[in-house]
């Protein structure tokens, strides 16, 4: 497949992510920050996010498994996750975290559990999508093309 086609596919894919709400404008902002002095900025931040999120999710799972749930700690974890996901532009995770926090305040265990599940699902989704996106970008670069810069304001 030649470079132009790959670039178009990338555009379509990215657009679909935005339309589905998986990513929002913040992600584009991150892309804009990537330049010659900082060539792997996005990749670094994203991998940091994955590592961070996985840690947080594990912590959350463990915390909710406890016989007595420390809602404060859960809340703080969720707050962290919310911060990370909004920094990276993972909109759905952020929304799920917001709901999660509400349940935490209400100290609603079932609500928290279901939210945790939802957050995990959303996280997996975002992870897959972003990995696919990076793969496509690598393919384009390997074929000698350049990653198109995108502008979007919703």
């Amino acid at each position: 497949m030649e470079v132009g086609q790959m670039q178009r596919r990338l555009l379509e894919y990215t657009k679909s992510l935005f339309m589905e709400g998986v990513l929002d404008n913040q992600f584009l902002q991150l892309q804009q920050l990537q330049d010659e002095s900082n060539p792997d900025f996005v990749a670094e931040v994203v991998s940091l996010f994955f590592a961070d999120s996985e840690r947080l999710l594990n912590d959350l799972t463990r915390a909710l498994d406890q016989p007595t749930i420390d809602f404060k700690m859960v809340d703080s974890h969720v707050h962290q996750l919310k911060g990370s996901s909004s920094s990276i532009g993972a909109e759905r995770i952020k929304n799920a975290c917001v709901a999660f926090r509400n349940f935490c305040e209400e100290q609603n265990i079932e609500g928290c559990m279901s939210c945790l599940q939802q957050v995990k699902q959303e996280y997996c989704l975002v992870k897959n999508k972003l990995e696919t996106l990076f793969r496509m970008e690598q393919q384009i670069v390997a074929a000698g093309g350049s990653i198109p810069m995108m502008e979007l304001s919703f």
Binding site: S146, M149, E151
Partner: protein, 740 residues
């Protein structure tokens, strides 16, 4: 008896018989003597006689015979011995000569006979030669006639004269009674009597062309004898006593201009023939001779050639006249067009100025009116007035531009400019519209595209904006991609732009921009009209009536001024379209490059406002910390990050000009940090500015921040633009409180 030497005759003398013998001998001798005399006489008379020796011999023989007979006269009577001796001698001699002569004659007589045969032979030969001479003479004569006829025929290029002359000359040469020419009618079904020799006014006499006799004549290229009673030959009313002369007919091929191929003698399958009929005088018993028929055939051919020449000439004269007329027409059309153009230009120049003045007045006063107190309806009305007049002003400007472009009085303003910035600018300008329509706009600039270029920045931006604006205008959903790259020479020669011949030169490059949208597309038959002024696609006109149809025409003019080419491709309605243009830009001089190299290496996409600004970022969340750090790095700041309050306390120093801290982490009181900093740096100018980054939007947070002495609060997420404007405001005013 005496012994005389007399000889007695043998027999007794019989008196009567003796007498007769005596007389006969005498006459014989006489005759014999006369014969040589006659011979001599006649031989002398004739010029040629080859046998003189024979004559002498024969003369001798005759003379001796005569002598013998003469002497014999004396022997009838008593004669002396002498006489007898003489007699004997004579006889002996005679005998000898006569034998010799006899022998000689054996040789001579065949010769004499052969002379006769030779004479006969020669006579025959002479007769033959005479005949041949006669033939040659007639041929010579025929040839002369033909040459003369041809000369006559060819001396004119007028059809009628040719035909008339032919008939006249033929009539004269062959002494004809009547000579007629039948031409085929326009329909080709009949032959019409066109020319005759004697009759002055041929009546429009026609015969159908399918007569067997006519077919017979047409099928052979020889002159054919026909019956005097057939319709073509019955030209005069026959009186009973006329014995009509023989009639001959020959075909004359009529050749057209189109019959002459370059290497090909025209096939006589042209099938258009005229018929020439020649009649010998009646009652003359003359016959058509072969040479006369040949003459007729040759003449017919010559006539055909002459007629075709005349036809060619007519044709070329007609063509020349036509061309002259067309020339005149074109000339006057050109003059009219020039007059029209001049008139239009004058009109435009005047009207433009006249139109602009009131326009400006309307716009200015409406704007002023907007500033005053108005009721909502009034405001709406004023806004509409303003919008419409702006539109009108744009239209007037466009028209002026176009007419100036066409005059050639528009000149590009060449200067060095930032090419990448142009693209970004255009992108920013259309962002609002694109966001309203929820369109994804992607910009892709090739890595080898120079950052700076030499050209007319304003017009390039205008063109780009127009093209991108069109793409956005006609796309309801989907995406728009703008690509810019340096066009290599092989891609410059595009099959879709065959009249574009770019020449690669030093110090210049060709910028190729492609704007692809996924919108409504254009059907292929409308594409040529897109760049025509005021021609609007029907569908476009229905959907969007705000366009004047001039935009693309102006773009085309600009692109042409930049020695480039612009075109649009679309696969059809609903399949989106791609607008492509190529323009020639200059490469800035090396001095510019060296200037650039002194500036510290800048990131490609952004402009740094804050080189070397020392910033401290405090954020517990690793991800958002690195995001904020990246943001500030992009702006050129010197960023240090800390992840906890303690670390912040430790690290913060007077070198830091700004401290960003995240205060949305529950449980951590970021406010303490602010207090601490205030305490640490008592002197105001040493103290770094403190800005809180928070995700919460309530007034409580803001009040808290203000209470602890923070210099600013920013709502997360922070975009690049926001950060930039925040920093510049902060550094300028040293305080920033964003309205939440």
């Amino acid at each position: 008896m005496e012994s005389c030497n007399c000889i007695e005759p043998q027999w007794p003398a019989d008196e009567l018989l003796m007498k007769y013998q005596y007389i006969s001998d005498f006459f014989i001798a006489l005759a014999y003597f006369s014969i040589p005399l006659e011979l001599i006489y006649f031989v002398k008379k004739s010029a040629v006689f080859p046998y003189r020796w024979v004559l002498v011999q024969f003369g001798a023989f005759i003379v001796l015979c005569g002598a013998t007979h003469l002497i014999n006269l004396w022997t009838f009577n008593m004669h002396s011995r002498t006489v007898a001796i003489v007699m004997t001698t004579a006889k002996v001699l005679t005998a000898v000569v006569s034998c010799a002569t006899a022998l000689m004659l054996v040789h001579i007589i065949p010769d004499l006979l052969s002379v006769k045969t030779r004479e006969l032979f020669l006579k025959n030969k002479a007769a033959e030669l005479d005949r041949e001479m006669g033939l040659i003479r007639t041929q010579e004569e025929t040839g002369r006639h033909v040459r003369m006829l041809t000369h006559e025929i060819r001396s004119t290029l007028d059809r009628h004269t040719i035909l008339k002359t032919t008939l006249v000359e033929l009539g004269r040469t062959l002494a004809l009674e009547e000579c007629a020419l039948w031409m085929p009618t326009r329909t080709g079904l009949e032959l019409q009597l066109s020319y005759t020799l004697r009759q002055q006014n041929p009546v429009g006499y026609t015969v159908p062309i399918q007569l067997p006799v006519i077919n017979q004549v047409f099928s052979s290229n020889h002159a054919v004898k026909i019956s005097p009673n057939c319709p073509v030959a019955r030209l005069r009313p026959l009186a009973g006593k006329y014995m009509p002369g023989e009639v001959v007919a020959v075909r004359v091929p009529l050749l057209h201009l189109s019959n002459f191929q370059i290497n090909d003698w025209p096939e006589l399958s042209t099938k258009r023939y005229a018929l020439m009929v020649l009649m010998l005088p009646s009652d003359s018993a003359r016959q058509w001779h072969v040479h006369e028929l040949e003459l007729v055939e040759v003449v017919a051919d010559q006539v055909a050639v002459a007629l075709s020449h005349a036809a060619i000439l007519e044709e070329s004269m007609r063509a020349r006249d036509l061309l002259m007329q067309q020339n005149i027409a074109l000339d006057s059309a050109r003059r009219e067009a020039e007059t029209a153009i001049r008139a239009r230009n004058d009109f435009l120049a005047v009207m433009n100025h006249e139109m602009r003045t009131p326009m400006h007045a309307i716009i200015a006063l409406s704007s002023l009116l907007q500033e005053t107190e108005l009721t909502p309806e009034q405001r709406l009305m004023v806004e509409t007035i303003l919008k419409s007049s702006n539109l009108l002003a744009t239209l007037i400007n466009d028209v002026l531009d176009l007419s100036r472009l066409e005059d050639g009085s528009l000149q590009l303003q060449i200067g060095t400019f930032n090419l990448h910035a142009v693209f970004r600018e255009v992108l920013n300008l259309i962002k609002p519209i694109a966001s309203v329509k929820k369109l994804l706009v992607a910009l892709n600039l090739a890595p080898d595209l120079p950052e700076y270029a030499v050209g007319d920045e304003k017009r390039l931006m205008q063109t780009l904006l127009n093209v991108v604006g069109n793409a956005v205008k006609f796309t309801k959903e989907g995406n728009i991609s703008i690509t810019g790259f340096v066009a290599k020479s092989e891609s410059l020669r595009d099959s879709r732009a065959p009249e574009f011949f770019p020449v690669p030169i030093e110090n210049h490059f060709y910028l190729r921009v492609q704007v692809k949208d996924s919108g409504s597309g254009i059907s292929p038959q409308d594409i040529p009209n897109l760049f025509t002024k005021f021609a609007q696609n029907q569908a476009i006109a229905l959907r969007n009536s705000s366009g004047s149809g001039l935009g693309l025409a102006i773009c085309k003019r600009f692109v042409n001024l930049m020695e480039g080419h612009i075109w649009i491709e679309s696969e059809g309605l609903g399949k989106g379209c791609t607008a492509i243009f190529i323009v020639k830009l200059g490469i800035p001089e090396h001095s510019n490059d060296s200037n650039l190299s002194f500036i510290p290496k800048m990131p490609v996409h952004g402009q740094t406002n804050f080189p070397g600004l020392k910033v401290l970022v405090m954020d517990e969340n690793g991800v958002s910390r690195s995001v904020t750090k990246g943001l500030l790095l992009h702006l050129g700041c010197d960023v240090m990050t800390v992840s906890s309050v303690e670390e912040c306390f430790r690290v913060v120093s007077h070198e830091h000009q700004v401290v960003f801290m995240d205060v949305c982490v529950p449980g951590i009181d970021g406010y303490e940090v602010a207090v601490h900093i205030h305490d640490k740096f008592t002197r105001r100018h040493e103290r770094p500015l403190i800005v809180a980054l928070t995700g919460s939007t309530d007034n409580l947070t803001k009040d808290n921040c203000m209470r602890v002495g923070m210099d600013g609060v920013i709502l997360k997420p922070v975009s690049l633009e926001k950060m930039r404007s925040v920093l510049s405001d902060l550094l300028e005013h040293r305080v920033l409180f964003e309205s939440m």
